[in-house]
């Protein structure tokens, strides 16, 4: 009897200790604690969210800038390599004076190492305000007659043309292709702006290329 009583007392004493521990770990938070916690969480999430948004915005700008840079360099390099070998060139403005569309065609010495120096190729660049301001390129063996794509072709079928880049626009008061009209010179100045940051602050690209070739003889095949 005495032993059972002691055991009971021991159980009572043991049960009291466990309850106290449960009360301490699962007792929940007070309202004050929750308010403080929520406030801190809001502050942290606000900061983190701001940083995320800023990061994503910067990322977009960097990507657009890099893309603009690549497109600009591609167009510039393309025109450079073509015009340096050009024996004749011609710039044709679009029929509509309100639109800055231009077709730039050259007759050039072939840059193919396997081709004879006497062989000629035709190359053309077409700038259009359509499609967000785009530059197209095409190339074919001479003789050829390159003409500007029609609006319908621009909208539906530009087969034969390679898109060099978009997001272009003509620089203020300057045509995209501005040929040098000095006799016996074959040179062109290329001016265009490109939306580099997506924030309406286009970058101006301007480069002048002069051919190293002599004038094409009258018997040479032409491209325009």
């Amino acid at each position: 009897m005495v032993a059972r009583a002691r055991h009971h007392q021991h159980d009572v004493a043991s049960g009291t200790g466990a309850n106290q521990r449960r009360q301490r770990g699962e007792g929940g938070y007070s309202l004050i604690e929750l308010l403080i916690y929520s406030s801190l969480l809001v502050i942290i999430l606000t900061i983190v969210g701001g940083m995320l948004l800023n990061t994503l915005t910067s990322k977009a700008k960097v990507l657009e800038s890099a893309d603009a840079n690549a497109v600009s360099q591609l167009i510039s390099t393309s025109v450079h390599s073509g015009v340096r070998n050009a024996t004749a060139l011609q710039v044709t403005d679009g029929a509509n004076p309100d639109i800055d569309d231009q077709l730039f065609v050259i007759t050039a010495v072939s840059s193919d190492p396997k081709a004879l120096a006497a062989e000629r190729v035709c190359q053309a660049w077409f700038y259009t305000e359509s499609n967000g301001g785009a530059m197209f390129y095409r190339r074919a063996a001479a003789p050829q007659t390159f003409v500007a794509p029609t609006p319908d072709a621009l909208a539906n079928d530009m087969s034969g043309w390679t898109l060099l880049g978009t997001g272009l626009s003509a620089a203020f008061a300057q045509p995209v292709f501005n040929p040098d009209v000095t006799p016996d010179r074959r040179a062109v100045t290329v001016n265009f702006t490109i939306n580099a940051g997506g924030d309406s602050s286009p970058a101006l690209m301007s480069t002048k290329v002069t051919s190293r070739q002599g004038a094409a003889p009258s018997t040479e095949p032409t491209c325009f």
Binding site: Y29, I44, N69, S111, A117
Partner: protein, 550 residues
């Protein structure tokens, strides 16, 4: 105690939430960073490739210029080479056709018509991010190639002697290509007769004596025409196969003139003299056994002294004293007041005054220069000549005894065209000058005349240049010997080229094989300086230039 424990519990509860936010932030930032870094690297690659392209393009252009310099200076010795700064690999090829696409990867030969230069330039700062599109650029340039001028204009005569000209023994003058060369003597008389032991000398050339006469005898034969400003005398079987133009002429002792004679003064024919052409003279005298196969024209008196004299053609004269009487087959026309001067001969070719050739390197573009002041023998010349990678000049004016090309069993082989300047040249024994292969080589042996006075200034008479013994200039070499002193081509020596001297003589069985050489910077035909002279091979106009892909 309670508060500390509470705070610990609060922190323990917030740890997971913050970590979640940080992980999310890091994830998004990482994605953005990767994208931005990738795009930046791509953009950097494009920009660096553009920069590399500009550098490589400039390097290629520099390579083209380097090749042009070598080709202009005729210092191209290898077909492929590299430049270091800027770095470019250069290749030179030539074509013997103006249109075909067959190219030989070598420095241009004399047969070259076009030269192609291929230069691949390399960028100093190559593209990054794997963008190698601009690391190399190739430029191809094609130029016309003008080979060495083989035009004889300006080369002058086969033999030019300013004072006197003697042809003795059985010496001969002819040309290597069958053309008829010219012997020019500016002053004094020319002889080819027994007084100089002439035996059977043959001059396959026109002879122009600008201020002197001519004596021909002892079977000496002049195959071309003769112009002289003082009397011409033929005797002892001498022959002139062309015409004779002189103030007066005497032809005796079985001499033959195969052409015609023009004299403003007397023409005297005697002892079987035979004129196969016509005679136009101030006066005509046929002593005995003389023959004129065509017409005779005498502006003054005509005397025919023996019946053995024959004029096959018509005689026109002011007066005729035919005491022989000789035979005049075509009849006679006597004009008491004189028939006039008759037909005019062909004008005498111009004999220019002496051309003073000094040591002026500007007249020798493209020639490399070496100096020599001791040795000065064939072996030394050969050693220096072998060092030249293009046409060369050896300045041997400081050699005390001149240049000694007089040794047995020694051959000077010309790897390139060569000019030697020295006060004198001693040339002889059985030394030879030749060149390997069939490429024509030129040799100039020049004792410069530093006094520009239009006449030879021989500072020391001992500075003569004799060519003796069995010395031979072999094909394909042609040589010009120039000296204001004297030149004697004797013994059995054979000279292939030209001789230009203060006094020039030929003797023995020596032979001058004429081939035009000329002297750069002067025109020996007109005596003008600067003249056309010899021109070396050089680049012509640019035919094309283009940038190549790859």
């Amino acid at each position: 105690m309670f508060l500390v424990r509470k705070a610990f519990l609060l922190l323990a509860g917030e740890r997971g939430s913050s970590m979640l936010a940080v992980i999310g932030l890091m994830a998004v930032a990482a994605v953005a960073t990767v994208a931005v870094a990738g795009s930046t690297m791509n953009s950097l690659g494009v920009s660096s490739a553009t920069r590399a392209g500009v550098q490589a393009q400039s390097a290629a252009e520099a390579g083209i210029d380097d090749a042009l310099l070598k080709l202009t200076n005729n210092t191209c010795t290898v077909a492929n080479w590299s430049t270091s700064s800027p770095a470019a690999a250069v290749s030179v090829s030539y074509s013997t056709s103006a249109i075909s696409d067959n190219w030989f990867n070598a420095c241009p030969s004399r047969a070259a018509v076009r030269v192609k230069i291929l230069a691949t330039g390399e960028a100093v700062d190559v593209g990054v991010g794997g963008n190698t599109t601009g690391d190399a650029r190739t430029v191809e340039a094609i130029y016309a190639y003008v080979p060495a001028d083989t035009d004889t204009a300006g080369a002058g005569s086969a033999l030019y002697s300013h004072n006197f000209g003697t042809f003795a023994g059985s010496s001969q003058l002819n040309s290597v290509d069958g053309s008829e060369p010219v012997v020019q003597v500016r002053h004094d008389n020319v002889s080819c007769d027994s007084t100089h032991r002439a035996d059977t000398s043959i001059l396959n050339a026109d002879l122009v004596i600008a201020d002197g006469g001519l004596a021909v005898g002892a079977t000496c034969t002049i195959v071309g025409d003769v112009w002289a400003t003082e009397p011409v005398a033929l005797h002892d079987l001498a022959q002139v196969r062309g015409n004779v133009v002189a103030p007066s002429a005497e032809s005796i002792d079985d001499t033959i003139i195969h052409g015609s004679i023009w004299t403003t003064g007397a023409t005297v024919l005697e002892s079987s003299a035979w004129i196969k052409g016509s005679v136009t003279a101030g006066s005509l005298s046929m002593i005995n056994s003389a023959k004129i196969d065509h017409d005779a024209w005498s502006a003054g008196e005509t005397t025919i002294g023996h019946s053995t004299n024959v004029i096959t053609g018509h005689l026109t004269t002011q007066s005729l004293a035919n005491s022989g009487p000789g035979v005049i087959t075509g009849g006679t026309t006597a004009v008491a007041v004189g028939p006039g001067a008759g037909s005019a001969p062909a004008p005498a070719p111009f004999v220019p005054d002496w051309v003073d050739v000094d040591y002026d390197l500007t007249d020798w573009p493209g020639f490399q220069v070496a100096t020599m002041n001791h040795g000065c023998r064939l072996a030394d010349i050969q050693t220096v000549a072998n060092l030249f990678t293009g046409p060369g000049i050896i300045d041997a004016r400081e050699c005390p005894q001149g240049v000694f090309l007089k040794e047995n069993n020694v051959t000077l082989s010309l790897p390139q065209d060569l000019a030697i300047f020295a006060d004198r040249f001693e040339i002889g024994l059985d030394a030879q000058i030749d060149a390997s292969g069939a490429t024509p080589r030129k040799l100039w042996l020049i004792s410069p005349d530093e006094t520009a006075d239009g006449s030879p200034t021989c500072r020391n008479p001992s500075d003569y240049s004799d060519i003796t013994h069995v010395f031979i200039v072999q094909a394909p070499v042609t040589a010009m010997l120039y000296t204001p002193c004297s030149i004697d081509l004797g013994f059995s020596a054979q000279w292939r080229g030209q001789l230009y001297g203060g006094t020039v003589g030929m003797a023995g069985t020596a032979t001058l094989h004429y081939a035009p050489v000329g002297i750069p910077g002067v025109d020996l035909s007109t005596g003008m300086t600067p003249g056309a002279g010899e021109s070396i091979a050089h680049l012509g106009a640019r035919v094309s230039i283009r940038d190549l892909n790859g």
